[in-house]
Symmetry: C2
Subunit: 232 residues, 2 copies
DNA sequence: TAGCTTGTGTGGTCCGACCACATGGCCGTA
DNA sequence: TACGGCCATGTGGTCGGACCACACAAGCTA
């Protein structure tokens, strides 16, 4: 085992034993180096990995925000990993879109009507009605709306995955809108569909909500001139 | 932006521009440090992150396996991230099981009968029949079988996710088997179900395959004394 | 020719130093 | 006493240089 991995292993042990938890502050790099019998450079390499995985957050200076603190951001790991693997052309965007469709339909079917995440989802829809700042602003809120639905299922993993996928698809979706003949008409339709989906979830009609989501997503891609890429 | 992030950004640019691709060898750490105008320590921190995300693989010495080489292992990032986030109790195992069920039923429904991955799946089932090395060996092949099904869909992302999920659940599943009254009977049933699932996929009957997978998984958890954790 | 030796380049590790930063306590002043 | 500025302290961030283990390839040797 390489020395920098000692840090991950050690942390996993501490977490498992309950000696450390989310919000805890790790020992200083110099102290940890001595404690684990490795150099500070190795400690730093280890913490960089933990940081990339969304497990810790490093802050300089002193005070509450300083030091290396345990956080919980599983989406971060997925996010950066997706970016790079897409860039390496090893991960087709079509696969991501397909996965998104899978997760979203499931989320719509299993979202809890009582989830507080639905309140922010409602707020987002209101914003989309109130503001009219073009495709960019609309899609931004659209993405957040869909992530909120995923979070409403209470499943942390699926919520994190949706959050990461959203970022990866954002650019792609943005590009699609440029080919649309009538943005006003499209956005109006999308807004109505959002309301219907939310309504179905709040009425505890998961199956109907899932069907609406499927139509919603597939409809958008079809209108944007993409065929078959999201054939779930 | 911190210096070690320069490496990721630079690599993403190189990949996007096509100057580097999977299999390419990165410049040596010393050369990269000079090229990017950062210290070797920073370069190393950057490559550690890339390594953790499954984007590169580092090898010492000289020859074909030496140096830092671009790979494509998206599952690695998810794998280590899941381990740590589960350890931090931020990610319930139930969520993972639930996600697994979602991905697997979808995979069964969308696996391509012509996929070469199904051949290795068949081989795994034959091995499970031939060898009888207890729950440990059985579950190992069982996991690989399910991952093979996911890969048979051709969706890289879903395949990678399944691979990571299985790893995270492995220990959990292992523990469940200890509570089983009659392992022989259970393994026999699981083997028959595997055959039926594979048969359904090869017959291009995705819907039936998905239903079988659902029963297969839920049945196992129920028999193991877990109730409701996998309620998709 | 076969086998050993040596050279070269790779990542792995370590040390010691300095920097920027944020805080909290000390000290001088009003 | 109360206020305000200064500085000691501890944090992560960065750097340069050094040495190691390793794996291969070229060259030397028997």
């Amino acid at each position: 085992m390489r020395n920098h991995q000692v840090v991950s292993v050690w942390l996993e042990g501490e977490l498992g034993a309950g000696r450390l938890a989310i919000g805890s502050r790790l020992p200083g790099e110099r102290a940890m180096a001595e404690q684990l019998n490795i150099s500070r450079a190795s400690v730093r390499e280890g913490t960089r990995v933990l940081e990339a995985l969304g497990v810790v957050r490093a802050g300089v200076g002193s005070g509450p925000q300083a030091g290396t603190i345990i956080t919980a951001n599983p989406a971060l790991a997925l996010d950066s990993a997706l970016r790079l693997h897409v860039a390496s052309t090893h991960l087709p965007v079509g696969d991501i879109v397909q996965t998104r469709l899978l997760l979203e339909t499931w989320a719509a079917a299993h979202a809890s009507p009582e989830s507080p995440a639905l309140r922010s989802a409602t707020a987002l829809l209101d914003e989309m009605d109130a503001h009219d700042d073009g495709p960019a602003g609309f899609l931004e809120r659209d993405a957040l709306f869909h992530v909120a639905l995923a979070e409403a299922t209470g499943n942390v993993l699926i919520g994190a995955m949706m959050g990461s996928l959203r970022g990866s698809i954002a650019e792609y979706t943005q590009r699609l809108t440029t080919g649309l003949p009538d943005w006003e008409a499209t956005s109006g339709r999308l807004r109505r569909e959002h309301r219907a989906i939310l309504e179905a979830i709040l009425s505890d009609d998961g199956a109907y909500a899932a069907a609406l989501v499927r139509e919603h997503i597939e409809g958008f891609y079809q209108e944007s001139g993409v065929h078959g890429s999201a054939g779930t």
